[in-house]
């Protein structure tokens, strides 16, 4: 890391401030001069994109809450009031509803990135674990948010998912009653979901701060998975990554805006434009697209309790990742076997997403089961075995040094041609 650089207050005021509250020093060390590996690719821009997603959701959400009414007889109409009568209400609401999808899209890419480059490995276990906590909070928040418009899918989705709690032995029933504020999804449920949907994003925000804090203690991982050795390996966060992240964010925004302005309802279900009717069950109850993989796992198992356990297990298992994959080499770039299993993992995750929208019968059910087995086997069987048997392919000495490391104790003294060798596989 860069130890030569020191923040020096330039004028009287910043000197005065620096002695009392070193705010500028903090900003400088963490946002401006922060030494960052110079070889980060575009998969590493999703952290910034996700921060922007969170901020967008919070701002649009606060405005929506000014006009929304959390009451079963008024909620649906209040959304239409926002869409029709509030100035730019349609824009804010479409930003918020599509923003949730963008948030999840970005977080999936961010997580797959972490899996591919081994970003969860020592010394970054805490960063990864905090990330999983954020993901879990996002799922809960997203689910509760989907209930608020009080459409048919809101109501029936809430009914199906909350009823899962009842499968837990002994405490299931009382917990469900507490969660719903009664014996079925009704006004008290809507009220508490609204309250929690407003609260949780700020909790997420807090955990994001911890996530970034932990990241700034260890520094970034990078596509080679080789730790930073000296100043030659790093560039300052600003202007390099501020500009690169911003560019990636604008590209992301282009896609986001396509949905907002030209196809705002494609990611939602038409049934949610029908007001909730407890007497009328929709033909197919499906969650939002980003929860479909978990829904597929839930339904892959004939036993309800087992299904619930597996669904939660699919996220819980992520917490143990740093200790399931003990291979020292981080990046899949130098792990020929892991790379193949990883690609299959991505394919099966996609397949689970597809299957979550299909009825759990026939070939769909069979495929759900196969995918679920692979999902868990990837973490619980494949990772530990590969950690023992896999022979990594030749690796460069360092981030700035493309020469192949033949000895185990090379200190990176060989001078290679400066090039993009790191990015060519």
């Amino acid at each position: 890391m860069n130890h030569d650089y020191q923040y020096t207050p330039k004028n009287g005021f910043s000197k005065w401030l620096d002695k009392r509250l070193p705010l500028m020093r903090f900003a400088d060390e963490n946002l401006l001069s922060f030494p960052t590996p110079k070889n980060l690719n575009y998969f590493y821009t999703f952290g910034f994109i996700l921060t922007m997603c969170l901020v967008t959701q919070i701002i649009t959400g606060i405005v929506l809450a000014m006009h929304y009414v959390p009451n079963t007889s008024l909620a649906f109409d209040s959304i239409e009031h926002i869409m029709r009568d509030v100035n730019y209400g349609w824009l804010i609401r479409y930003m918020h509803s599509n923003g949730a999808s963008m948030f999840f899209l970005a977080v999936f890419i961010h997580m797959f990135r972490g899996l591919y480059y081994g970003s969860y490995k020592e010394p970054r276990e805490i960063i990864w674990i905090l990330g999983v906590v954020i993901f879990l909070l996002m799922i809960i928040t997203g689910f509760m948010g989907y209930v608020l418009p009080w459409g048919q899918m809101s109501f029936w989705g809430a009914t199906v998912i909350t009823n899962l709690v009842a499968t837990i032995p002994v405490i299931g029933e009382p917990v469900l009653t507490l969660l719903l504020g009664g014996y079925s999804v009704d006004n008290p449920t809507l009220n508490r979901f609204f309250s929690l949907h407003y609260l949780l994003p700020f909790v997420i925000f807090g955990v994001v701060i911890l996530h970034i804090w932990a990241l700034h203690v260890t520094g970034n991982n990078n596509p080679t998975g080789i730790e930073v050795k000296d100043d030659k390996d790093t560039i300052s966060f600003h202007p390099y990554y501020t500009v690169k992240d911003l560019f990636a964010y604008v590209v992301f925004l282009l896609m986001f805006c396509y949905f907002i302005f030209y196809n705002p309802n494609i990611l939602g279900h038409p049934d949610n434009y029908i007001e909730a009717d407890p007497m009328l069950t929709p033909a197919h109850i499906v969650p939002e697209w980003y929860l479909l993989p978990f829904y597929a796992i839930l339904r892959a198992v004939p036993d309800k309790l087992m299904g619930v356990l597996l669904m939660f297990g699919s996220i819980v298992v992520l917490f143990f990742l740093p200790w399931l994959d003990t291979m020292k080499v981080k990046s899949a770039r130098y792990r020929p076997l892991y790379k193949i299993f990883f690609l299959f993992f991505v394919i099966f995750c996609l397949l689970l997403g597809y299957l979550g929208a299909k009825p759990p019968e026939g070939i769909y059910l069979l495929l759900s089961r196969v995918s679920t087995i692979y999902y868990f086997a990837f973490f619980l069987v494949i990772m530990p075995i590969l950690s023992r048997i896999e022979k990594p392919s030749p690796m460069p000495i360092g981030i700035s040094n493309p020469a192949i490391n033949n000895t185990s104790d090379s200190d990176g003294g060989v001078s290679g041609t400066p090039s993009y060798a790191m990015d060519s596989k």
Partner: protein, 263 residues
């Protein structure tokens, strides 16, 4: 184009893009088994605008035919004159509204007051309650039409197909009882009798009111009714996308310039 080459070189990228593609198709795969007719509407596409004359005719069909059973509770009369809609004149909207009456407030003796409607009033509801609506329609509830286009997959094409899709010949294996047969309706048996016949209405602008024309106009009108801000949305979208495209080019140039010397 180093940056893009780097992105695409990574085979992971393709798969990640697919997550999204998959989920989108998974969500939109549902729909009626009968393929909707696609007459082609002027509001389709990123620059689509409503055909105002068709919206006006569609309103006429709604008010003369549909409104006897179906409400439009999210709309107020004033919406009929706002930009991006049928754009009736204010005078015309006042005249339309005054044709209906509403009980509103009390007189000095506490008796309910009746007055004629104003542009600021919501469209009148055909029935006092859901129960009344069901009672008058053999137990089937005629849904409110404010959001019907958004509440059905491929809404406007579905609506158009459904309205002109009634058939007299009922398939032999289908028992529809008192209901009508419409192959576009899921299951085929629909509680709504065929609502439109040639010249059910006499269009104010002299257009020939064929079943096809009326179905088209109503589908148009109800698409607007489901989202009166659509034109505004696409207009703003054009400006925002234009800005972002210029911005993204500048950002791309900045990134390439900045990383030119990073090896």
């Amino acid at each position: 184009m180093n940056i893009f080459r780097n992105i695409f070189k990574n085979n992971m990228f393709i798969f990640l893009v697919l997550i999204f593609g998959f989920s989108v198709t998974a969500n939109s795969a549902e729909g009626t088994t009968f393929k909707n007719l696609k007459p082609g509407f002027s509001f389709e596409g990123p620059f689509g605008k409503f055909d105002k004359e068709s919206l006006k005719r569609g309103y006429q069909v709604y008010s003369e035919v549909c409104s006897s059973c179906h409400g439009l509770k999210q709309l107020s009369f004033r919406n009929l004159s706002q930009p991006g809609g049928p754009e009736f004149s204010i005078e015309r909207v006042k005249e339309i509204a005054s044709g209906y009456s509403i009980t509103d407030g009390f007189d000095e003796y506490g008796e309910p007051l009746e007055r004629s409607m104003l542009p600021s009033d919501r469209f009148p509801r055909p029935y006092g309650s859901k129960e009344e609506a069901k009672g008058a329609n053999n137990g089937a509830y005629p849904p409110d039409l404010s959001l019907i286009v958004k509440a059905r997959a491929d809404g406007y094409n579905y609506l158009y197909s459904l309205l002109k899709g009634y058939e007299e010949e009922i398939p032999e294996d289908l028992d529809i009882g008192d209901l009508s047969y419409n192959p576009w309706y899921p299951g085929g048996a629909i509680a709504m009798y065929q609502p439109l016949y040639d010249e059910s209405v006499e269009y104010e602008d002299g257009t020939l009111a064929t079943i096809d024309q009326m179905s088209y106009d109503v589908a148009n009108f109800l698409t607007w009714a489901a989202e009166p801000t659509m034109e505004e949305r696409k207009r703003l979208g054009f400006i925002v996308m234009g800005f972002l495209i210029i911005f993204v080019i500048l950002m791309y140039l900045s990134v390439s310039r900045l990383f030119r010397d990073v090896h």
